[in-house]
Symmetry: C3
Subunit: 211 residues, 3 copies
């Protein structure tokens, strides 16, 4: 109930976990990993960012092991990929939309948890962004891929999260934080991410500049 | 004394740490790393799973830095590999047996620590399994190898641990936990692992199924 | 003020963070990462060792998110690399000197934090060394490089840190710890590292011995 969204937040949070877990398990299949690799990549993708968030702010036991629904949903997602990975791969578009929603929600929850733990604005932006993208980075490291969010040819992913985390921190500091602002910011992050996907927005990189 | 096995537990625990450290230092030699890499891989292989376990459940300072015997044993194992790495490599069979024992013990200790910290059954299974296999995964990442436990051609490693962690959680919940049940489960994990090695049991993988 | 050096310590600490962040962002440029990768590698290189240190000893929220100056300095360093990466690359020599100073300071601060948290000498050596070299290892993992400090052809880096951490633990245990001893040890680590660079001192490796 950290964002104040209540039941809706919980459903969306678990939906985000489910979709991140689908992405992790799917990558494991593409890498030829066995079922252990599928479950492990599902776990780190879905819960890794939140674990990093909780460790850094000192909120332990981490949320991922405090609520068995997380674990059930992750294993369920790995199971879905196990029996229907072709179907999941084919549903790339809806998965990307739900993934964008997951980024938005994880960002807001992460930033709020940091602010509630007494961190200031820059730290909350860092923690909120890390909560959204950290799991994917650990997933890529375990799969021996270059972290997707660092690649010059990837569409904006961490930057919408950073914007959302900054927005969350601003409304929090102005005492305007509540279900409406939380939902609005999460949705804003989602929309920016989807626009980046649609129009191929990329972050600048030094190497690509004319010398 | 968490498993209730007392001195025997302690000896076995340090033996498990020693063997895991041997494996880490040996991999460093095969990778051509220097003595720093040997000691570092020995540390993460032997103590990485327990560190992850303690961080996630919030038991800090982590056990690895609370008991200097761990550090002494790890550095000792790296030293043994340094002076006799060919001998260690040649003793592959006894090392695998002791490694299997290490998995069993780390699993039971990990699951019990999680349960004692108030985690429920699914979380204890996750933490117990991670305690047993987490160090090896971090070792492989640092050595830039594909994590062994994820590979479709690897014999069962994480699954015996998960079974043992589940067994530990069940006896704990039934209030049947004690030295006998702890030892029995650790031994059971060891035996399953050794049978998997002997008969080449592998976990299923989606990619290997007929399409 | 942990080392007792006061303002000078703070300036040097932030200077160390700045230089480590420069190294991280520069590696990101060489890898062709975008601005997200630059900022991320700057963060993990500069603050990763300290985060590991704080997590292991249980000092949370970690220092990296408790003091916004760290975050400002890291982002600033990434910005400097963004606008002047050729200049930064060309200033290799002064960067290496400041990096050596950073190792010295991070080692002493890390060991002292561990000792102040009640850890004993071997654990403080481990934590102090990890505080100095841990960020670079995580950076190399994220960039998919072999960890530099493990390579047989790398000049001494972790070993000066380990010596400094041991020295810090000794003066602490002898109740001789203070600004003078802290500064002296940090400087000693720096000098050993610079001598290693100058004379090409390398750690032994088993593979390179005659068989």
């Amino acid at each position: 109930v950290l964002t104040g969204l209540g039941t809706l937040e919980r459903v969306l949070d678990l939906l985000g976990v489910f979709v991140f877990a689908l992405a992790g398990a799917s990558l494991a299949v593409r890498k030829g990993f066995d079922v252990v690799g599928m479950v492990a990549l599902a776990f780190v993708t879905a819960l890794g960012g939140g674990v990093l968030r909780d460790l850094v702010i000192g909120s332990t036991p981490v949320a991922a092991v405090q609520d068995s629904w997380y674990l059930v949903v992750v294993v369920g997602a790995a199971g879905v990929v196990g029996v229907a990975h072709r179907t999941v791969e084919a549903m790339r578009r809806p998965v990307l939309v739900l993934d964008a929603l997951g980024i938005g929600l994880f960002t807001v929850v992460g930033a709020v948890k940091a602010l509630a733990a007494g961190l200031d604005v820059p730290a909350a932006v860092l923690v909120g962004t890390m909560a959204a993208v950290g799991g994917g980075i650990v997933r890529d490291v375990l799969a021996r891929d270059e972290p997707t969010v660092f690649r010059a040819d990837s569409t904006l992913y961490a930057i919408p999260a950073a914007i959302g985390a900054a927005g969350t921190a601003v409304v929090w500091e102005l005492d305007l934080y509540g279900p409406a602002s939380a939902g609005g910011i999460a949705l804003g992050v989602t929309v920016i991410r989807l626009l980046a996907l649609r129009f191929g927005w990329r972050a600048p990189s030094v190497g690509s500049r004319p010398a």
